[in-house]
């Protein structure tokens, strides 16, 4: 009896045959950010217009998604028809011929409407390999009320010296208000995004023309010391575990005087539903150092691309064309309001009167994006592109290791000098292994 039951169980266990996808089912991998979740919700509008296409979503947290998608593409798994990747990956992957050039987006797509800086970062040899879904630079978000109380006025183009002073003046420990909130959580896309941009604006660079790491140079010493001192004097509790999201929460709760981070945050901090300070936020361009003309050159976009292994390239491009079109922007605006449309990809959006009226952050966002140049991110010449990252495959691991070292400084467990020496050693090691340093 028992055996029979087991055998039956075995048969049914073996009978779990995977349902194979029908010819026109697109599998789309995306991150769980708000704009993408919204896109997922609006998918029915697309399938209504294209009844022969079905869409399956794989929504994952950013880091898990990146691991999954990279493994799949590099090992030729062929599980995805559309992947969501950053402008960090696009040129690297395109050079490996892992992505299909997007040549079937249709006549109505108006490629020239894409912001030049964004489009440039997604093109290799003139061909577009990914379509931008939303884009961002970095800027200062600050509390106008706190500034007024402290008798401060945000200048047109603030310097770090001013920021440090303002941060100290707006810090109010008794009321749990920190003058400035900055990323401290270790990760190449977390603290290193900010620190790299900061270092750019101090005139520093990751590598010299011969790929020699520059952590032993005075610019890094100055910028890291500045960052560490600033966080100690005016940063929040637990700054070394704060990433974008943690700082967003702090700012929304009214616990930060300033926050320097991705421009996309503006729509969250100005949304009265989630933010207690929605009507008190001012915006300003990313600071620079006295005497250095560099504003960090932070530029990021989330993009949709078709892996070369996809067998449904035509349908996939149809979807991408829809999701990154002007019509999609209109659709979101009509359903959820202009403030919720994906920002930072098209010039036409910033010429839309309704958008400018409803989104106070539109003009500063555009200004920040136009100021960013990832092809020439630093004062001194560099062999790489990328502002808050270095667009080489090795950067993810290296950036994360250096990020750990720097977050230990913020946590008070390591000194600036020790962290820089360790960063120099590990970067030299990694770059030598990868064959950059001969």
């Amino acid at each position: 009896m028992t055996l029979k039951t087991f055998l039956l169980g075995a048969c049914s266990a073996l009978a779990f045959v995977a349902t194979t996808a029908s010819a026109e089912t697109l599998t789309i991998a995306t991150v769980n950010n708000g704009d993408m979740v919204r896109m997922q919700g609006l998918t029915s509008e697309f399938t209504k217009a294209n009844p022969d296409i079905e869409v399956n979503w794989v929504t994952l947290e950013e880091n898990v998604l990146r691991e999954r998608v990279t493994t799949d593409i590099a090992a030729n798994g062929g599980q995805y028809d559309i992947v969501t990747i950053g402008n960090y990956e696009v040129p690297i992957w395109a050079k490996q011929q892992w992505l299909l050039p997007l040549e079937g987006l249709g006549d109505k797509y108006d490629m020239d409407d894409l912001l030049p800086a964004i489009r440039g970062g997604l093109s290799v040899e003139g061909k577009l390999y990914a379509a931008p879904f939303y884009g961002e630079s970095a800027m200062i978000m600050y509390r106008k009320d706190l500034f007024e109380k402290a008798g401060l006025k945000m200048p047109e183009s603030p310097t770090w010296e001013f920021i440090a002073d303002a941060a100290k003046k707006t810090t109010d420990r008794a009321n749990d208000i920190s003058g400035i909130c900055l990323r401290g959580k270790a990760g190449w896309g977390e603290n290193m995004a900010f620190v790299s941009a900061l270092n750019n604006s101090f005139g520093g660079r990751w590598f010299d023309e011969n790929w020699k790491p520059q952590f032993d140079q005075p610019e890094w010493k100055a910028s890291l010391q500045f960052y560490a001192d600033l966080m100690k004097e005016a940063g929040p509790q637990g700054a070394s575990s704060n990433g974008f999201n943690e700082n967003l929460t702090l700012f929304q709760q009214g616990k930060c005087g300033m926050w320097i981070d991705a421009t996309v945050a503006a729509s969250f901090v100005s949304n009265p539903k989630d933010s207690k300070v929605a009507d008190k936020v001012g915006y300003a361009i990313f600071p620079s150092k006295e005497g250095v003309s560099n504003h960090g050159n932070w530029l990021w976009s989330w993009n949709l691309a078709v892996p070369a292994s996809s067998k449904k390239a035509e349908a996939a491009q149809k979807f991408i064309s829809w999701a990154t079109s002007k019509e999609y922007t209109q659709l979101v605006a009509s359903k959820e309001g202009w403030a919720n449309v994906p920002p930072g990809t098209r010039t036409s959006l910033y010429n839309t009167e309704d958008y400018k009226k409803e989104a106070a952050f539109a003009a500063p966002t555009l200004a920040a994006m136009q100021a960013a140049d990832i092809t020439k991110p630093t004062v001194k010449p560099v062999p790489y592109t990328g502002g808050q990252f270095v667009a080489i495959p090795e950067f993810q691991a290296l950036g994360t290791t250096v990020g750990q070292l720097f977050s230990a400084v913020i946590a008070g467990q390591s000194t600036v000098d020790d962290a820089l020496a360790a960063a120099q050693a590990t970067a030299t090691r990694d770059m030598t292994r990868a064959g950059y340093i001969k």
């Binding site: 880091n63 691991e67 990279t70 493994t71 590099a74 090992a75 690297i92 490996q96 959580k185 270790a186 990760g187 929040p236 509790q237 637990g238 070394s240 575990s241 943690e246 929460t249 702090l250 616990k255 495959p393 090795e394 993810q396 691991a397 290296l398 994360t400 290791t401 990020g403 750990q404 070292l405 977050s407 230990a408 913020i410 946590a411 008070g412 467990q413 390591s414 360790a422 050693a425 590990t426 090691r429 292994r433 990868a434 064959g435």
Partner: protein, 290 residues
């Protein structure tokens, strides 16, 4: 004849499991071994070449290597200490005649049913968060400065979370062992005038030693491979303070996409784990044979 038959039959019955596990062990191990001698980065698939022992050397000279081994040991021993001592204490407590014993037992074993990433997320965001966590709320209530757990005590925080997940397992096994302790023996000891403390030292502890051995053995195997909890909470930092060997391999293989280096790290981890295992077997095997 009969014994011969039985033996043949026994071999046949064991065959499927042995064959399956042999394949499961050998194939990935062989592939990993192969990759460990290759220069192979997933992101530059064009430049694959023979690397000799370079991957091993590279992994071994990683600035975080020795600290990661130390952290692995601290993590395993820390969790074992908490779960064995805490588990014994809780088992003794539940073994007492208490009201609602069933419900108490249910509550105590519940953490075992929680997925590791969920456990880490709950502890990180709702319990230990320096701004909004319950611990911070308690500290603020007493007018103290909230502790920033993951920055100040990163490895300890990870130990707490993992220990919370494994405490039920230890408690259950120890409780079962405790309940099997002959009540006649207990009564005899009581009659002899042994107090609670003496009974515990001379009767309970020797009786539990076998159960403790099992707890240590099974948990060690799982604890050596911990990395999801670290990934969710501290990302191995600050510095390398919470990087264990598995996390170091994760960083090499998954963040660096360094297949060769990750494979070499995997082989090193297997060798080290087996050294621990042999060590453990020596101690444990004796105890189990008793």
């Amino acid at each position: 004849m009969a014994t011969q038959n039985t033996r043949t039959l026994a071999r046949l019955m064991m065959a499927p499991s042995v064959v399956v596990l042999l394949i499961w062990m050998a194939v990935p191990l062989a592939m990993t071994l192969y990759y460990s001698f290759q220069n192979y980065n997933l992101l530059t698939p064009m430049n694959v070449s023979f690397a000799g022992f370079f991957n091993y050397q590279y992994f071994y000279t990683d600035p975080a290597f020795f600290q990661s081994i130390w952290n692995t040991l601290v993590l395993v021993l820390g969790v074992l200490a908490i779960t064995v001592i805490g588990g014994t204490a809780i088992a003794l407590l539940i073994d007492q005649p208490i009201f609602g014993q069933g419900i108490v037992r249910i509550l105590v074993i519940s953490p075992f049913f929680v997925m590791p990433p969920v456990a880490a997320l709950i502890w990180k965001n709702m319990i230990m968060h320096p701004g909004y966590g319950v611990f911070a709320d308690i500290a603020k209530f007493f007018g103290a400065q909230p502790v920033d757990w993951f920055a100040q005590y990163p490895l300890f925080s990870v130990i707490i979370i993992v220990a919370w997940q494994w405490l039920p397992f230890a408690t259950l096994i120890l409780l079962t062992a405790l309940q099997s302790l002959d009540s006649e023996q207990k009564e005899a000891a009581e009659m002899d005038g042994a107090n609670f403390f003496n009974r515990f030292i001379y009767l309970t502890i020797p009786h539990l030693s076998r159960a403790v051995t099992v707890v240590i053995l099974i948990q060690t195997i799982f604890l050596l491979g911990i990395y999801a909890e670290i990934l969710v909470t501290t990302n191995g930092g600050p510095g390398y303070a919470s990087t264990n060997l598995t996390f170091l391999i994760y960083r090499t293989a998954r963040l660096g996409y360094d297949v060769g280096g990750g494979a070499a790290g995997g082989i090193i981890a297997v060798v080290l784990a087996n050294i621990v295992a042999i060590f453990l077997m020596r101690a444990v095997g004796k105890n189990l044979d008793k």
